[in-house]
Symmetry: C2
Subunit: 393 residues, 2 copies
């Protein structure tokens, strides 16, 4: 086999992320590499931090992108905030709540699990019961926007409960940042992590995080060292901190940070609230089309995440074949179900640059065409008119 330059196909990415990356962001990515200690790079890092504070709606000083994907952002939060023997309330209503439990246990801490059905939001009543029953708990961890189901939980209420019971709150905002209302300071979130490849439409590989003053205090007052050297915030801060020192810790992913800078600039130009509204408006159009076709959402309407649409598969349809045909015939990627929903749902993403009116119409027409061709029991010819009724303004 002779290996040659890899020229990827041009896709439309409407799965659970990565989302379509705008040419402006790809251009930024390809600018000449400079040193991670170059003074020019340091100034760019300051701007990334300022724009991340805007995206998170926080004044937290400790706000920066971890040099690795969202899973490493999750681990940064748990590994820095937990010490062996600590107790954590972990809410599980999908795959990522289960991953949280794995993280807690690997830190030598104890996870008290609050379970909700997949597709449902986290139930604050159950959380309050768990907080009451476990006064030794020091942390409440939950997923704001469950990428595996498309359920949006009430982060504001959950964080208020955490504070009421003297716990720090830790929030997974991988899929919500930039796409759904999220206010770190107003809601009293103590630790939060996200990903760049969802509603920020940047390339995958970075994980924006932010920590409140309370969380920072806990990290500074640890009795034991953080078990990960790479993710130890006491060390990373020498590079990303505000003292201007920029002392070497690890070599930052320079070009990916150029791309994040550009994607955050585009978010700032659009305006955060406008971006939230765009995701919501286009979700309504997509929803109207999908429902007209006869597909139904697994998440109750009031808890539905605009940017991640998990819908049931028409009876008797080979769901993997549908995704394969969309990819091969239309170069359109939609997502499969994950975990216990594998084979049972599709996950259609409307994230960042993928959330456009033309993508909504394209996805509906491609899906209808493939399903019709496969003889699926759907309503034909009604999806596009239903979607069109929604204003795309």
């Amino acid at each position: 086999m002779t290996i040659t330059t890899f020229n990827p196909p041009v896709r439309t990415l409407m799965g659970p992320g990565p989302s379509d990356v705008h040419p402006r962001i790809l251009s930024a990515l390809a600018r000449p590499t400079i040193g991670h200690l170059d003074p020019s790079f340091g100034r760019m890092m300051d701007e990334v931090k300022t724009m991340l504070q805007y995206a998170f709606q926080t004044k937290n000083e400790l706000t920066f992108p971890v040099s690795a994907p969202g899973s490493a952002g999750m681990e940064t939060c748990f590994a820095n905030l937990l010490e062996p023997g600590d107790t954590v309330i972990v809410c599980q209503n999908g795959v990522f709540g289960m991953r949280m439990q794995e993280n807690v246990e690997r830190c030598g801490a104890k996870a008290i699990i609050v379970k909700d059905d997949w597709g449902k939001p986290v139930d604050p009543k159950k959380v309050e019961e768990a907080l009451k029953a476990n006064p030794e708990a020091s942390l409440l961890a939950f997923v704001h926007a469950e990428t595996s189901t498309g359920a949006l939980s009430d982060a504001k209420t959950l964080c208020a409960l955490a504070r009421q019971y003297d716990c720090l709150s830790l929030v997974d905002a991988v899929t919500s940042l930039g796409g759904s209302e999220l206010r770190v300071d107003d809601w009293g979130i103590d630790a939060i992590y996200s990903g760049t490849q969802k509603c920020l439409s940047c390339v995958p590989g970075l994980s924006p995080v932010s920590f409140s003053e309370r969380a920072q205090q806990r990290i500074k007052q640890r009795k034991q060292k953080v078990q990960s050297w790479f993710l130890d915030l006491n060390l990373v801060m020498g590079y990303w901190g505000s003292d201007g020192g920029r002392s070497y810790h690890h070599t930052a992913p320079v070009n990916s940070l150029y791309a994040l800078h550009e994607s955050l600039l585009m978010l700032q130009e659009e305006g955060l609230e406008n971006s939230w509204k765009r995701h919501s408006d286009l979700h309504n159009a997509l929803k109207a089309g999908l429902e007209a076709m006869g597909l139904s959402f697994i998440v109750p309407e009031e808890s539905r995440l605009p940017q991640l649409n998990a819908v049931t598969i028409p009876q008797g349809v080979d769901e993997a074949l549908v995704r394969k045909r969309l990819l091969e015939e239309y170069s359109l990627e939609i997502g499969a179900g994950l975990g216990s929903l594998a084979g049972k749902v599709w996950r259609i993403g409307l994230m960042g640059q993928s959330a456009t009116p033309s993508n909504v119409m394209f996805c509906l027409s491609a899906l209808e065409s493939v399903l019709s061709d496969m003889g699926a029991d759907i309503n034909s010819g009604v999806a596009l008119p239903a979607a069109q009724k929604h204003s795309f303004s």
Copy 2:
């Protein structure tokens, strides 16, 4: 402050990495993002693995790039190979041997330190004594190419000792991969990690690793889970493994992997031995010029790393000002000293695409010009002729 698009200065990167990234690699980086589970991407991943096996000179099945910088590659090795209570022989002759000790201790294992002076290679006699004195040791860890000093250690001899004393060997090849002779299978290396931003001239952010069958067995037979979920090879293998499953673990840094693919392709086109020879030849030219000028190397000639040239600073010279002027007047980056060598040496990199005849001449002339202008006690007008005597063929 209004934030606008970041246009980095165009530098010549002759520090300890990142090195200059070739336009072919930057172009690959900017190709359209596709999904991390896209079948096309899976085929590209297979090619990356094949080309990494070539670069490492190994048939190890477990060879892939960790989705984070070299420090995370180091942590991947230690966190997977160690369990609490294990004993490790750690060789220290620079900054990265100290980082190894941090990793060992954070895994709950015990580090037996074998110290050599900074600038000297690891002494195999001392290592053998430590192996004899600590029969419970299960791992010998050392740095092949110390980026903080420019010393090259004898990995072949050290790995043979490890095997003789029934230890696995763990090798830091961050700066050697692609630039110096390195033969994972022939030398019996059990675990190795590197970085992409040195002699591979790819963007920073990935860490190629490889594990022998013996190392894999140890990982599979662990009693406890790996303390990092993100770096747990038992899980990562579901995505990078050979069974073709490509099951989701984390979202891979898709575009950075395009770039790595292209940089490995360029290495293959040049030929590994040719790349080693190029680094060595250009080092000889640079060395002749620097020594003619009056600067001296801190590493004995027989252990000198071609791609990282640590040289002393002429007496009375403000070394930081020299670097600042090189950056501002010539857009040339050279490296500062690290750790106990801070302020005492410069580190001049000749790595990957930065290792060209024109860069050697440019660096010598810029350095001579700035030093002369600052009134430093150097020999003028002799560096370029001395360098030119060396064939650049």
